[in-house]
């Protein structure tokens, strides 16, 4: 499938950049005729994934590097790839369990949200080297409906 747009955002692992990342992803989603609901859901999943990089990947250390890649395809699939170079995940199956969190006081709902709101989610991690979350969502529902 042909790429319509490609955006790569690299930023420090600071709490204020969570909103910067979701704003940027929403601006990219807005380039196709998506619904407000879709835009809110994109914001939510980006927020969860980036927060995870900061909190879990880097144990809240600022000034570490997080990358978000946005690939928008001609068929209006938006692919969001978010990764860090942090501690990584030892047991991905456990991490994906609803309500599981390795940090007390956290909800353990991040991956649940990502999975529910996106069409596809993949988590890859090498302990000590970092974690990559790949998320895909088709934003063409509205224009497909208009065609039908």
């Amino acid at each position: 499938m042909r790429l319509k747009n490609h955006v790569r955002l690299e930023f420090f692992s600071r709490p204020e950049n969570v909103s910067l990342a979701r704003t940027c992803a929403a601006a990219c989603a807005a380039q196709v005729d998506c619904t407000l609901d879709e835009m809110e859901e994109i914001k939510l999943v980006v927020s969860e994934a980036v927060s995870n990089c900061i909190i879990h990947g880097y144990d809240n250390r600022a000034d570490e590097k997080i990358v978000m890649e946005l690939n928008l395809y001609e068929n209006e699939n938006l692919e969001i790839i978010i990764y860090d170079y942090g501690r990584g995940i030892d047991d991905i199956d456990q991490a994906l369990q609803p309500a599981y969190s390795s940090v007390p006081g956290h909800m353990g709902m991040g991956f649940v949200f990502m999975k529910s709101f996106m069409d596809y989610m993949n988590v890859e991690s090498s302990p000590g080297d970092g974690t990559t979350v790949k998320l895909t969502r088709n934003l063409g529902q509205r224009s497909n409906q208009a065609l039908a």
């Binding site: 609901d37 809110e40 709902m109």
Partner: protein, 110 residues
């Protein structure tokens, strides 16, 4: 984040505005707990009308406050949440613990 906290008799009325994410979660938690401490609060009403975004960091603050209230036999209510915020409350199951109400009148009828 905008934050406005008021005590009316034994009810704590918290109005939050803006985006409830990890950037503001600690401050929000701290400010609410500071006001509750030592007082006999029976009800906590969280007015979310002006909350434009909430992720699981915001959700964790709500769940934590609910547990605190429940531990002392108190109740917690959320009013005026927008559809996007409500969706997050529902998907997480927090709506089973904290009553999601339209507005203040809705609480009285509960």
């Amino acid at each position: 984040m905008n934050l406005d906290i008021k005590i009316i008799k034994d009810t704590l009325m918290v109005r939050v505005g803006g985006e409830m994410d990890m950037l503001v979660a600690d401050q929000l938690r701290y400010e609410i707990d500071r006001v509750i401490r030592g007082k006999n609060i029976r009800n906590l009403i969280l007015d979310m009308e002006a909350v434009t975004f909430m992720d699981s960091a915001g959700l964790a603050v709500i769940l934590g406050r609910y547990k605190k209230m429940a531990a002392s036999g108190g109740k917690m209510y959320i009013i005026k949440a927008r559809p996007g915020v409500k969706k997050v409350l529902e998907l997480s199951g927090v709506d089973k613990l904290v009553a999601i109400c339209t507005d203040e009148k809705d609480i009285i009828n509960l």
